[in-house]
Assembly symmetry: D3
Homo-oligomer: 199 residues x 6
Amino acid sequence: MKGVCFLVTVALMALASSLASASDPSPLQDTCVAIDEPKDAGLDKPGNTSNTVASNVTTVNVEQIKGLNTLGISMVRIDYEPYGQNPPHTHPHPRATEILTVLEGTLYVGFVTSNPENRLISKVLYKGDVFVFPTGLIHFQFNVGKTNAVAIAGLSSQNPGVITIANAVFGSDPPINADVLTRAFQLDKNVVNYLQSRF
Amino acid sequence: MKGVCFLVTVALMALASSLASASDPSPLQDTCVAIDEPKDAGLDKPGNTSNTVASNVTTVNVEQIKGLNTLGISMVRIDYEPYGQNPPHTHPHPRATEILTVLEGTLYVGFVTSNPENRLISKVLYKGDVFVFPTGLIHFQFNVGKTNAVAIAGLSSQNPGVITIANAVFGSDPPINADVLTRAFQLDKNVVNYLQSRF
Amino acid sequence: MKGVCFLVTVALMALASSLASASDPSPLQDTCVAIDEPKDAGLDKPGNTSNTVASNVTTVNVEQIKGLNTLGISMVRIDYEPYGQNPPHTHPHPRATEILTVLEGTLYVGFVTSNPENRLISKVLYKGDVFVFPTGLIHFQFNVGKTNAVAIAGLSSQNPGVITIANAVFGSDPPINADVLTRAFQLDKNVVNYLQSRF
Amino acid sequence: MKGVCFLVTVALMALASSLASASDPSPLQDTCVAIDEPKDAGLDKPGNTSNTVASNVTTVNVEQIKGLNTLGISMVRIDYEPYGQNPPHTHPHPRATEILTVLEGTLYVGFVTSNPENRLISKVLYKGDVFVFPTGLIHFQFNVGKTNAVAIAGLSSQNPGVITIANAVFGSDPPINADVLTRAFQLDKNVVNYLQSRF
Amino acid sequence: MKGVCFLVTVALMALASSLASASDPSPLQDTCVAIDEPKDAGLDKPGNTSNTVASNVTTVNVEQIKGLNTLGISMVRIDYEPYGQNPPHTHPHPRATEILTVLEGTLYVGFVTSNPENRLISKVLYKGDVFVFPTGLIHFQFNVGKTNAVAIAGLSSQNPGVITIANAVFGSDPPINADVLTRAFQLDKNVVNYLQSRF
Amino acid sequence: MKGVCFLVTVALMALASSLASASDPSPLQDTCVAIDEPKDAGLDKPGNTSNTVASNVTTVNVEQIKGLNTLGISMVRIDYEPYGQNPPHTHPHPRATEILTVLEGTLYVGFVTSNPENRLISKVLYKGDVFVFPTGLIHFQFNVGKTNAVAIAGLSSQNPGVITIANAVFGSDPPINADVLTRAFQLDKNVVNYLQSRF
C-alpha cells in the first residue's frame, strides 16, 4: 500500500509544482500516511535574512509534514532584521487569508482595501499581538523595532502562492512593455527601465 | 410580496456596498424578481476615457439587471483610446477569473504568474480573439492599435472587486510608510514621495 | 516541462470530454501555460445558422485559449437569423449562470422559475442590453427583429453543459417509453411517436 | 434564547420561501434547536395520488424537523399508482443529486444525459434496488407494476427545487410565446395552443 | 470508450479506498455510464446483526450503482435487534449530514452539540418519523422497542466516513498512551487497560 | 458608516454565538473595518492551566481582531503543565484542519483515522516541529516533558468548534441513556453512572 501511495504522492507533488490542474478539494479520505519520516520543520530556527529586503519566510509544506495534502492549511515563520520587511504582496489562490502573531519584536503591518477606497488598515504589533490579512489584498510587515523580529502565521490554503508586487510588475520574465508601466505608475520611462533592470 | 423583496434587496445592497458580511453563496432560490424596471445596461455605448489611463470600464451590476444577486457572474465593457490601458490590477475576491473578447481594435494583454517565476504570459489580440486572466493574478490590457478598442469580459463573481496596483501601493489613504515602499521597490525616497503625491 | 504539461493536459481534456470524474475545482496553481499556439477563437465571425432552429452557438473552450482549465468560466457567441431561436434549454452543471449582452438585433429572452409558480420572466432586449439566466432554470432567446441578431454571453463554469429540452425529452437514445411522455405531456400517443421520430 | 432563535428562523424561512438571497452555506454552528415540537413527518403514510400523473411526492423540510437549516440534505417519499409516474423533471439548485430506493413495487426509472448525446440511462428497479439521478439532469420514475409502488429518496440539498418539464414549458405564467415552442418542439401551432391551455 | 472509462474508474476507486488525494468535487460531467451491470443493492434485506452492538449498517456505494462518483450523496440501511444500537459516532468528512427515517420499530436517537454546552438533542422515533444528524456531531440510534427496527438514511457525501468513538479512543492501532486516556476520561488506569484490551 | 457596520457586526456576532444560521462564506467584500480598538490578543501570555486536564486553550476570535468575519481562519495558543493534555477532541465544523507548532517543551501528539482501521498516527514533537490534525478526526496533545509546553496553532475556519469526546459522551446535558453508553463502551453500568456524575 505504501508504494502505491508514494507513487500517487509523487504524481500529485509534480502537479502541484508545475501545472494548472491541481485543485483545493475537500478531503474524501482522512489522510495519506505513507510518507514515513517527515523532516524536521525547524520553525524554531531563524531563516537567512541576508537579502535586499532583510527578511525571510520559512514555509512548512507537504514535504515536511504528513497529510498536508487536500487539507487546506499551511504555516510560515517570518524573520526580520531591524528595518527588514516582508514587502507588499498578495496570495493569489482562493482561501488564502493569513493570521499572524508576533513572537519577538515590533512590526508595523498593514493591508490596503480594493478600489475605489484603497484604504490602508495598519497597526503596530507587539509580542503576542495578532492580525489578519484578508484573502486577495496587498499587505506587508515592516520591522520598526531595534531588534530582530519573528512572526508565525497560518494561511487557509495548502498552497496560497505569493505575488511580490514589485517583482511581478517590474521583474517579470519577459518584462512588461515599458509603455504600460510608464503610464500606469506615472513614472519617467528611464525610471521604469532602471527598475526593470533591478528586479 | 414585492415590497418585502424590495426591502430585503435594499438591505443586501447596503451590505454589498460597505460591509464584510456579504457572501458569494450558491443560490437556494431561483431568483429575486421583484425589481420591476431594470435600467438599460447600455453596453453598446462607449464609456468616458478622458482620464490618466485613457480607458473606461462599464460594469453591469445588480442595479441594472434582475436577479444578479447570489448568481456569481458579472460583465464589463472596456473602452480604450489609442495607447490607453486598463492598468495592472487584480480581482481580490474568490472566483473572479475574467474571460475577455475584443469587439474592436487591437490589444496587447497579459498576466504575470506568482513567485518565484513571475512569468509574463502575453498576447496581441485582434477582433474576435479571446483571452483568460486567471483569478488572483496581476493583469492588464493595452491598446496598441491606432484606433479606439472595445472589449467585453465576463467575470465569475457578482462582485469581483478591483485592486489597481499603482493606486493601492502609492495612493492608499493614509499612505503606506515611505520607508516600506522605498526598499520594496528599490526607489529613491524622493521618487516614492513624488509618486505618493500623484496618486 | 512543456512536454509533461502537454501530456497531462491531454489526459485532462480526455476526461473532460467523456468521463464523470472531471471536477470544478478552485485552482491551486496560477495556470497551465504549456500549450503554445492557441487557435483563433474567432468570436467576430458569424456561426452557421442553417439548421432547424436557425441559430448557432460558438463556444470558446480549453482548446482555443490558454489556461482555461480549473478557472470556472467560459464564453459563447450566439447568432440568430430572423425568427431564429436558441430553444428552451438548461445548463446542468453547477455554477452555470449565464450573463448575456446583445451586440446586434432584437431578442425576446426569458426563463421560467421552478414549481409551483413556473413564472416566466421575459424581456425584449435591444443592442447593449444585458440579461441574466440563473443557474439550472429553463431559458431561451428568440430573434423577434427583422435582421440577424448577435449576442455574447459569459457562463460561470468552464464546462456548463447544455440540455436542449425538446431533444432530451423526445430525442433521447434510446427513446423514453412513450407511455411516460404521453401522460407527462398530455399528448396523444401518435403525437409522441411523431415527435420521437423527428428528434 | 428560544424567542430570538424563533424570530430569526421566521426571517430565514421567509427568505427561503420567496427570495433569491437565501444561500446553501456550510454551517458555522452545530444546529438551531429552539423549535420545540416538530410535527410528525409521517413518511410511513401514502400520499394522495389522485392527480393527472397518479403519483405524489411527500417532502420532509425545515417545518417538520429540527435543525435542517444550513445542513444541505432533504428526504422525500414518493407514491405511485399502477402506471403512475413522477414525470420528467430537474432539480435546479446546486448539489441536488438524488439517491432513491424502492420500498414497494416495480419502477422503470431513467435520466437523459446532456447534449449532444442525450443518452437515456434507464433501469427497472425492484424492492431494495437503489438508483442515482445526477444533479441537473432530466429524470423520471414510472410504475410499471400492477400494484402501488413506494420509494424513499435523499437529495443533497435542503431545498433542491423542482422543475416539471411539461409544466415549465407549456404551463408557465404568463405563457411562453407560442412561436418559440412551435419551432423548438416542431409541433403544429394548434397543438402548442392546446397544450398551453391544459397546463 | 467503455474501456477508457473503466480504467479511470479503477484508478479513482483505488484512490478512494486508500489515499488522501480523493476529493468531493462538483461534477463537470453528467455521469460515468460505462459500468454496465450494477449488482443489486439489496436494501430490502436485513443485515447481519450478530455482533457486540446488535446492529448492522448496509452501505450503498459506487460499486453497486452507476454514476455515484462525484455526486456527493450516499444511502444506508440500518438494522437493529431489540436493544441493539448504532453506537456514538461521527462522520469526519465534510458535507456528511445524515437524514434518517424509521421503516420499522422504535428508535431513541440523539446527537450532542459542541463545547461548552454539550447539549443532548434526542427523540423517540416511530415508523415514518424523520430526524437529522448535523455534520460533525456525535450521534447514535438505540432500538428501545421489543421488535427489530429498520431505518433508511441519506448522507450528503459519497464517502462520509465513520468514526465509532469507543473504537477510535480505546481501540486504535497502536493504542493511545494510557496516561492520556486515564486523565481525559477520569478513569482508573486499570479500567483503561481493560478497555484497550477489549476494543 | 461606522454606526451601521457596528450594528450589523453585533447582529452577526449574536448569530455566531447562538444560532444555526451563520455560514462560512467566501467573502464578497474586503473586510469590515469599523471596530476601532481591538483588544490585545495577548498570545504571549500563558493561559490558566489549573483544571482537570492541566492545559489551557487561548482562542483569538472576532472580538480581538479586525476583519476576522467571513475570512475562514483562526489561531490558538495552547499551554500545558507537565503531564497536562489537550484531551481527545474533534472540530465539527467544515474546513477545520489544524496546523500546530511547538514554541516550548515536548509534546506527544496524535490523531486516529476513521473506521475500519482506527490507526493512530502519533509523534513526539520538539520545539520548532510542526504537525497537522486533519479535519474531523479525533486528536490530542500530551506534554511528556518535565517543563511547561506552549504551542501555537492555526485552524482553517473562523469558528471551528470543539467537541471534547469525554465531555460530549459522558457529560452531555441531559445525559445520554446509560444503556447506550454501557454497551457502546463495554463498561459496567456502575462505571458509566460514575463517569456521568463526574463530567
